[in-house]
Protein backbone atom coordinates (compact mmCIF):
# COMPACT_ATOMS: atom_id res chain seq x y z
CA UNK A 1 0.00 0.00 0.00
CA UNK A 2 1.11 3.56 -0.66
CA UNK A 3 0.04 6.97 0.63
CA UNK A 4 -1.17 9.76 -1.64
CA UNK A 5 -1.49 13.29 -0.29
CA UNK A 6 -3.71 15.88 -1.94
CA UNK A 7 -3.55 19.63 -1.32
CA UNK A 8 -6.45 22.09 -1.23
CA UNK A 9 -7.05 22.64 -4.96
CA UNK A 10 -7.10 25.98 -6.74
CA UNK A 11 -10.61 27.33 -6.19
CA UNK A 12 -10.35 29.91 -8.95
CA UNK A 13 -10.63 33.69 -9.16
CA UNK A 14 -7.49 34.38 -7.17
CA UNK A 15 -8.80 32.74 -4.00
CA UNK A 16 -5.85 31.75 -1.85
CA UNK A 17 -7.45 30.10 1.17
CA UNK A 18 -10.61 28.50 2.48
CA UNK A 19 -12.18 27.70 5.84
CA UNK A 20 -13.10 24.11 6.63
CA UNK A 21 -16.83 23.96 7.39
CA UNK A 22 -17.36 20.25 7.85
CA UNK A 23 -15.61 17.04 6.89
CA UNK A 24 -17.92 14.56 5.14
CA UNK A 25 -15.43 11.71 5.50
CA UNK A 26 -13.33 10.53 8.45
CA UNK A 27 -10.01 8.75 8.86
CA UNK A 28 -10.50 5.06 8.03
CA UNK A 29 -13.37 5.67 5.56
CA UNK A 30 -13.29 4.04 2.16
CA UNK A 31 -14.19 6.69 -0.45
CA UNK A 32 -14.97 6.62 -4.14
CA UNK A 33 -13.63 9.02 -6.73
CA UNK A 34 -15.89 12.15 -6.90
CA UNK A 35 -17.51 11.38 -3.55
CA UNK A 36 -17.91 14.65 -1.58
CA UNK A 37 -15.03 14.96 0.92
CA UNK A 38 -15.41 18.27 2.69
CA UNK A 39 -17.37 21.52 2.72
CA UNK A 40 -15.20 24.62 2.55
CA UNK A 41 -16.02 28.33 2.50
CA UNK A 42 -14.11 31.04 0.66
CA UNK A 43 -14.75 34.77 0.63
CA UNK A 44 -16.89 34.08 -2.45
CA UNK A 45 -19.01 31.08 -1.59
CA UNK A 46 -19.33 27.74 0.14
CA UNK A 47 -18.54 24.64 -1.93
CA UNK A 48 -18.36 20.88 -1.56
CA UNK A 49 -15.07 19.36 -2.77
CA UNK A 50 -15.30 15.99 -4.54
CA UNK A 51 -12.62 13.35 -4.04
CA UNK A 52 -9.92 13.24 -6.74
CA UNK A 53 -9.13 9.65 -5.78
CA UNK A 54 -10.64 6.38 -4.60
CA UNK A 55 -8.99 4.93 -1.50
CA UNK A 56 -8.95 4.76 2.26
CA UNK A 57 -8.68 8.05 4.15
CA UNK A 58 -5.51 8.02 6.27
CA UNK A 59 -5.53 11.62 7.45
CA UNK A 60 -7.60 14.77 7.09
CA UNK A 61 -5.98 18.17 7.71
CA UNK A 62 -7.85 20.89 9.57
CA UNK A 63 -10.80 20.85 11.96
CA UNK A 64 -14.04 22.69 11.29
CA UNK A 65 -13.39 26.42 11.48
CA UNK A 66 -9.71 26.26 10.60
CA UNK A 67 -8.21 28.05 7.63
CA UNK A 68 -6.26 26.21 4.97
CA UNK A 69 -4.22 27.73 2.13
CA UNK A 70 -4.50 26.62 -1.49
CA UNK A 71 -1.69 24.10 -2.05
CA UNK A 72 -1.45 23.02 1.61
CA UNK A 73 -2.15 19.37 2.47
CA UNK A 74 -5.87 18.62 2.72
CA UNK A 75 -6.22 14.85 2.80
CA UNK A 76 -4.07 11.70 2.60
CA UNK A 77 -5.32 8.45 1.08
CA UNK A 78 -4.00 4.93 1.27
CA UNK A 79 -4.19 3.25 -2.13
CA UNK A 80 -2.92 -0.09 -3.53
CA UNK A 81 0.70 0.11 -4.76
CA UNK A 82 -0.18 -0.37 -8.42
CA UNK A 83 -2.66 2.57 -8.29
CA UNK A 84 0.02 4.80 -6.80
CA UNK A 85 2.41 3.70 -9.51
CA UNK A 86 0.12 4.92 -12.23
CA UNK A 87 -0.41 8.43 -10.91
CA UNK A 88 2.92 8.71 -9.10
CA UNK A 89 3.48 8.95 -5.35
CA UNK A 90 3.55 12.31 -3.66
CA UNK A 91 5.53 12.66 -0.42
CA UNK A 92 2.99 12.65 2.38
CA UNK A 93 3.77 15.91 4.19
CA UNK A 94 5.65 17.97 1.61
CA UNK A 95 3.53 20.33 -0.50
CA UNK A 96 3.94 19.54 -4.19
CA UNK A 97 6.34 21.74 -6.12
CA UNK A 98 3.75 22.54 -8.72
CA UNK A 99 0.07 23.22 -8.17
CA UNK A 100 -2.22 20.93 -10.11
CA UNK A 101 -5.93 21.03 -10.53
CA UNK A 102 -7.14 17.84 -8.88
CA UNK A 103 -10.84 17.87 -9.44
CA UNK A 104 -13.15 18.35 -12.34
CA UNK A 105 -13.06 22.05 -13.20
CA UNK A 106 -14.70 23.84 -10.26
CA UNK A 107 -14.72 27.13 -11.96
CA UNK A 108 -14.29 28.21 -15.53
CA UNK A 109 -12.00 31.10 -14.75
Amino acid sequence: MAELSFPLPDLGEGLIEATILEWLVAEGDQVERNQPLVEVETTKSAVELPSPQAGTVVKVHGDAGSMIAVGDPLIVFEVPDDTAGIVGTVPAEKPPARRVRLSAVLDDD
Binding site: E13, L21, E22, L24, P36, E39, E41, T43, K44, S45, A46, V47, E48, L106, D107, D109
Partner: protein, 266 residues
Amino acid sequence: MGRHRDHLVEGSDPQLSVALHPPASDAGLRPVLLLHGFASSTKLNWVDTGWIRYLNEAGRTVLTVDLPGHGDSAAPEARDSYSPSRIRADLLQVLQDHHVVPLREGVPASGVDIIGYSLGSRLAWEFGATQPELIHRMVLGGPGSGDPLAAFDLAAAQELLAEGTPIQDPRTAELMRMARLVPTNDVFALLTMVEAVKDEPFTPAEAVPRMPLLLVAGENDDLAATAQELADLAPQAELLTLPARTHANAVTSRAFKSAAVAFLAA
Protein backbone atom coordinates in the same frame (compact mmCIF):
# COMPACT_ATOMS: atom_id res chain seq x y z
CA MET B 1 -31.65 27.57 -23.44
CA GLY B 2 -33.95 30.30 -24.66
CA ARG B 3 -36.02 28.04 -26.90
CA HIS B 4 -38.92 29.45 -28.85
CA ARG B 5 -42.23 28.96 -27.09
CA ASP B 6 -45.57 28.79 -28.79
CA HIS B 7 -47.70 29.44 -25.73
CA LEU B 8 -46.06 31.92 -23.40
CA VAL B 9 -47.75 32.84 -20.11
CA GLU B 10 -46.28 36.31 -20.61
CA GLY B 11 -45.94 37.75 -24.08
CA SER B 12 -42.19 37.56 -24.57
CA ASP B 13 -39.63 34.82 -24.09
CA PRO B 14 -37.56 35.73 -21.00
CA GLN B 15 -34.61 33.64 -22.28
CA LEU B 16 -34.02 31.99 -18.95
CA SER B 17 -31.40 29.28 -18.71
CA VAL B 18 -33.32 26.16 -17.68
CA ALA B 19 -31.80 22.71 -17.17
CA LEU B 20 -33.17 19.29 -16.32
CA HIS B 21 -30.93 17.00 -14.24
CA PRO B 22 -32.29 13.45 -14.27
CA PRO B 23 -31.09 10.90 -11.68
CA ALA B 24 -29.29 7.67 -12.67
CA SER B 25 -31.98 5.74 -10.86
CA ASP B 26 -35.38 7.45 -10.74
CA ALA B 27 -37.40 7.17 -7.51
CA GLY B 28 -40.57 7.95 -9.49
CA LEU B 29 -41.29 11.13 -7.55
CA ARG B 30 -42.24 14.57 -8.87
CA PRO B 31 -39.40 16.87 -10.03
CA VAL B 32 -37.68 19.27 -7.63
CA LEU B 33 -37.44 22.88 -8.84
CA LEU B 34 -34.44 24.79 -7.40
CA LEU B 35 -34.55 28.59 -7.03
CA HIS B 36 -31.23 30.30 -6.26
CA GLY B 37 -30.58 33.53 -4.35
CA PHE B 38 -29.76 37.11 -5.32
CA ALA B 39 -26.33 37.54 -6.99
CA SER B 40 -25.94 33.75 -7.08
CA SER B 41 -26.74 31.23 -9.84
CA THR B 42 -27.66 27.60 -10.41
CA LYS B 43 -23.94 26.82 -10.54
CA LEU B 44 -22.95 28.63 -7.32
CA ASN B 45 -26.06 27.86 -5.30
CA TRP B 46 -26.80 24.27 -6.36
CA VAL B 47 -24.02 22.67 -8.44
CA ASP B 48 -20.82 23.66 -6.59
CA THR B 49 -22.52 23.08 -3.24
CA GLY B 50 -23.36 19.46 -4.11
CA TRP B 51 -27.17 19.81 -4.06
CA ILE B 52 -27.87 18.44 -7.53
CA ARG B 53 -25.67 15.42 -6.95
CA TYR B 54 -27.32 14.81 -3.56
CA LEU B 55 -30.87 15.06 -4.94
CA ASN B 56 -30.00 12.88 -7.95
CA GLU B 57 -28.53 10.24 -5.63
CA ALA B 58 -31.83 10.27 -3.76
CA GLY B 59 -33.50 9.44 -7.09
CA ARG B 60 -34.95 12.91 -7.61
CA THR B 61 -35.21 14.65 -10.98
CA VAL B 62 -34.00 18.24 -10.61
CA LEU B 63 -35.09 21.28 -12.59
CA THR B 64 -32.93 24.42 -12.36
CA VAL B 65 -33.56 27.97 -13.53
CA ASP B 66 -31.15 30.91 -13.54
CA LEU B 67 -33.06 34.04 -12.56
CA PRO B 68 -33.03 36.92 -15.07
CA GLY B 69 -29.71 38.76 -15.00
CA HIS B 70 -28.08 35.79 -13.23
CA GLY B 71 -26.00 32.81 -14.35
CA ASP B 72 -26.56 31.92 -18.00
CA SER B 73 -29.92 33.67 -18.33
CA ALA B 74 -30.40 36.82 -20.38
CA ALA B 75 -30.02 40.21 -18.69
CA PRO B 76 -32.72 42.39 -20.27
CA GLU B 77 -32.68 46.14 -19.74
CA ALA B 78 -36.39 46.50 -18.92
CA ARG B 79 -37.11 46.64 -15.20
CA ASP B 80 -40.33 44.64 -15.66
CA SER B 81 -38.29 41.57 -16.64
CA TYR B 82 -37.03 41.38 -13.05
CA SER B 83 -40.25 41.94 -11.12
CA PRO B 84 -41.18 39.08 -8.77
CA SER B 85 -44.62 38.80 -10.43
CA ARG B 86 -43.06 38.45 -13.89
CA ILE B 87 -40.60 35.86 -12.58
CA ARG B 88 -43.48 33.86 -11.05
CA ALA B 89 -45.23 33.84 -14.44
CA ASP B 90 -42.01 32.70 -16.10
CA LEU B 91 -41.60 29.91 -13.52
CA LEU B 92 -45.12 28.72 -14.28
CA GLN B 93 -44.14 28.66 -17.93
CA VAL B 94 -41.03 26.58 -17.15
CA LEU B 95 -43.15 24.04 -15.26
CA GLN B 96 -45.62 23.84 -18.15
CA ASP B 97 -42.80 23.35 -20.65
CA HIS B 98 -41.55 20.43 -18.54
CA HIS B 99 -45.01 18.86 -18.42
CA VAL B 100 -45.54 19.26 -14.70
CA VAL B 101 -49.14 18.25 -14.08
CA PRO B 102 -51.42 19.27 -11.19
CA LEU B 103 -51.15 17.25 -7.98
CA ARG B 104 -53.30 14.14 -7.89
CA GLU B 105 -53.93 12.06 -4.80
CA GLY B 106 -51.97 8.82 -4.99
CA VAL B 107 -49.83 9.91 -7.98
CA PRO B 108 -46.31 10.53 -6.60
CA ALA B 109 -44.99 11.91 -9.90
CA SER B 110 -47.68 14.63 -10.10
CA GLY B 111 -46.97 18.24 -9.21
CA VAL B 112 -43.58 19.62 -8.21
CA ASP B 113 -41.49 20.18 -5.07
CA ILE B 114 -39.49 23.37 -4.62
CA ILE B 115 -36.28 24.22 -2.78
CA GLY B 116 -35.41 27.91 -2.59
CA TYR B 117 -32.56 29.85 -1.05
CA SER B 118 -32.72 33.49 0.09
CA LEU B 119 -34.44 35.48 -2.70
CA GLY B 120 -35.37 32.08 -4.17
CA SER B 121 -37.25 31.31 -0.94
CA ARG B 122 -39.18 34.56 -1.17
CA LEU B 123 -40.14 33.76 -4.78
CA ALA B 124 -41.09 30.21 -3.72
CA TRP B 125 -43.29 31.52 -0.86
CA GLU B 126 -45.31 33.66 -3.26
CA PHE B 127 -45.33 31.05 -6.01
CA GLY B 128 -46.53 28.39 -3.56
CA ALA B 129 -49.29 30.66 -2.30
CA THR B 130 -50.58 31.21 -5.84
CA GLN B 131 -50.05 27.67 -7.24
CA PRO B 132 -51.36 25.29 -4.55
CA GLU B 133 -52.65 22.82 -7.14
CA LEU B 134 -49.12 22.31 -8.53
CA ILE B 135 -46.82 22.39 -5.53
CA HIS B 136 -46.55 19.44 -3.16
CA ARG B 137 -44.03 20.64 -0.55
CA MET B 138 -41.40 23.37 -0.27
CA VAL B 139 -38.06 23.79 1.51
CA LEU B 140 -37.15 27.44 2.09
CA GLY B 141 -33.49 28.10 2.96
CA GLY B 142 -32.19 31.35 4.48
CA PRO B 143 -35.72 32.77 4.68
CA GLY B 144 -36.98 35.83 6.52
CA SER B 145 -40.21 37.74 6.91
CA GLY B 146 -38.45 40.96 5.93
CA ASP B 147 -37.05 41.91 2.56
CA PRO B 148 -33.29 42.61 2.47
CA LEU B 149 -33.52 43.80 -1.13
CA ALA B 150 -36.31 46.29 -0.35
CA ALA B 151 -33.98 47.83 2.27
CA PHE B 152 -31.06 47.88 -0.20
CA ASP B 153 -29.51 51.35 -0.52
CA LEU B 154 -29.60 51.71 -4.30
CA ALA B 155 -28.20 55.26 -4.34
CA ALA B 156 -25.20 54.19 -2.25
CA ALA B 157 -24.60 51.23 -4.59
CA GLN B 158 -24.64 53.51 -7.61
CA GLU B 159 -22.21 55.92 -5.91
CA LEU B 160 -19.92 53.00 -5.16
CA LEU B 161 -19.91 52.01 -8.83
CA ALA B 162 -19.49 55.57 -10.11
CA GLU B 163 -17.13 57.10 -7.55
CA GLY B 164 -15.92 54.22 -5.41
CA THR B 165 -17.60 55.78 -2.36
CA PRO B 166 -17.82 53.13 0.40
CA ILE B 167 -21.34 51.97 1.33
CA GLN B 168 -22.39 52.76 4.91
CA ASP B 169 -25.29 50.30 5.30
CA PRO B 170 -23.66 46.92 6.17
CA ARG B 171 -26.28 44.75 4.44
CA THR B 172 -26.13 46.79 1.23
CA ALA B 173 -22.34 46.63 1.39
CA GLU B 174 -22.37 42.85 1.84
CA LEU B 175 -24.84 42.28 -1.02
CA MET B 176 -22.73 44.48 -3.31
CA ARG B 177 -19.57 42.65 -2.24
CA MET B 178 -21.20 39.33 -3.19
CA ALA B 179 -22.55 40.75 -6.44
CA ARG B 180 -19.13 42.00 -7.53
CA LEU B 181 -17.11 38.96 -6.45
CA VAL B 182 -18.53 36.81 -9.22
CA PRO B 183 -16.99 38.07 -12.48
CA THR B 184 -19.87 36.73 -14.56
CA ASN B 185 -22.42 38.79 -12.61
CA ASP B 186 -23.94 41.70 -14.48
CA VAL B 187 -23.99 44.26 -11.67
CA PHE B 188 -26.25 46.66 -13.58
CA ALA B 189 -28.79 43.89 -14.19
CA LEU B 190 -28.67 43.04 -10.48
CA LEU B 191 -29.36 46.67 -9.56
CA THR B 192 -32.28 46.70 -11.99
CA MET B 193 -33.60 43.66 -10.16
CA VAL B 194 -33.27 45.50 -6.85
CA GLU B 195 -35.37 48.34 -8.29
CA ALA B 196 -38.00 45.85 -9.47
CA VAL B 197 -38.10 44.18 -6.03
CA LYS B 198 -38.49 47.56 -4.35
CA ASP B 199 -41.61 48.03 -6.49
CA GLU B 200 -42.99 44.70 -5.22
CA PRO B 201 -41.51 44.20 -1.74
CA PHE B 202 -42.06 40.92 0.10
CA THR B 203 -45.22 41.02 2.24
CA PRO B 204 -45.49 37.38 3.30
CA ALA B 205 -48.79 37.73 5.21
CA GLU B 206 -50.53 38.83 2.02
CA ALA B 207 -50.40 35.42 0.36
CA VAL B 208 -49.50 32.38 2.44
CA PRO B 209 -48.53 28.97 1.03
CA ARG B 210 -50.67 26.28 2.65
CA MET B 211 -48.72 23.15 1.66
CA PRO B 212 -46.18 21.68 4.14
CA LEU B 213 -43.08 23.89 4.43
CA LEU B 214 -39.64 23.24 5.89
CA LEU B 215 -37.80 26.47 6.70
CA VAL B 216 -34.03 26.08 7.18
CA ALA B 217 -31.76 28.81 8.54
CA GLY B 218 -28.22 29.05 9.85
CA GLU B 219 -28.05 29.92 13.55
CA ASN B 220 -25.88 32.96 12.66
CA ASP B 221 -27.83 34.00 9.56
CA ASP B 222 -28.90 37.57 10.28
CA LEU B 223 -30.90 37.77 7.04
CA ALA B 224 -32.98 34.83 8.32
CA ALA B 225 -33.32 36.05 11.92
CA THR B 226 -37.07 36.41 11.29
CA ALA B 227 -37.50 32.85 9.93
CA GLN B 228 -39.67 31.90 12.93
CA GLU B 229 -42.07 34.79 12.17
CA LEU B 230 -42.38 33.50 8.64
CA ALA B 231 -43.00 29.96 9.89
CA ASP B 232 -45.72 31.25 12.24
CA LEU B 233 -47.65 32.70 9.28
CA ALA B 234 -48.03 29.35 7.51
CA PRO B 235 -50.46 26.64 8.65
CA GLN B 236 -47.99 23.78 8.08
CA ALA B 237 -44.43 25.01 8.62
CA GLU B 238 -41.52 23.69 10.62
CA LEU B 239 -38.19 25.43 11.21
CA LEU B 240 -34.79 23.75 11.25
CA THR B 241 -31.84 25.73 12.64
CA LEU B 242 -28.29 24.81 11.55
CA PRO B 243 -25.77 25.36 14.38
CA ALA B 244 -22.97 27.87 13.69
CA ARG B 245 -23.98 28.45 10.05
CA THR B 246 -24.40 31.83 8.34
CA HIS B 247 -26.39 33.03 5.31
CA ALA B 248 -23.35 32.38 3.10
CA ASN B 249 -22.38 28.92 4.34
CA ALA B 250 -25.65 27.24 5.40
CA VAL B 251 -26.21 26.26 1.80
CA THR B 252 -23.63 23.45 1.65
CA SER B 253 -24.71 21.91 4.97
CA ARG B 254 -25.21 18.16 4.90
CA ALA B 255 -27.87 18.45 7.64
CA PHE B 256 -29.78 20.88 5.38
CA LYS B 257 -29.60 18.51 2.41
CA SER B 258 -30.61 15.39 4.28
CA ALA B 259 -33.51 17.19 6.01
CA ALA B 260 -34.71 18.56 2.66
CA VAL B 261 -34.62 15.19 0.90
CA ALA B 262 -36.45 13.45 3.78
CA PHE B 263 -39.06 16.22 4.02
CA LEU B 264 -39.81 16.24 0.28
CA ALA B 265 -40.07 12.44 0.11
CA ALA B 266 -42.85 12.37 2.72
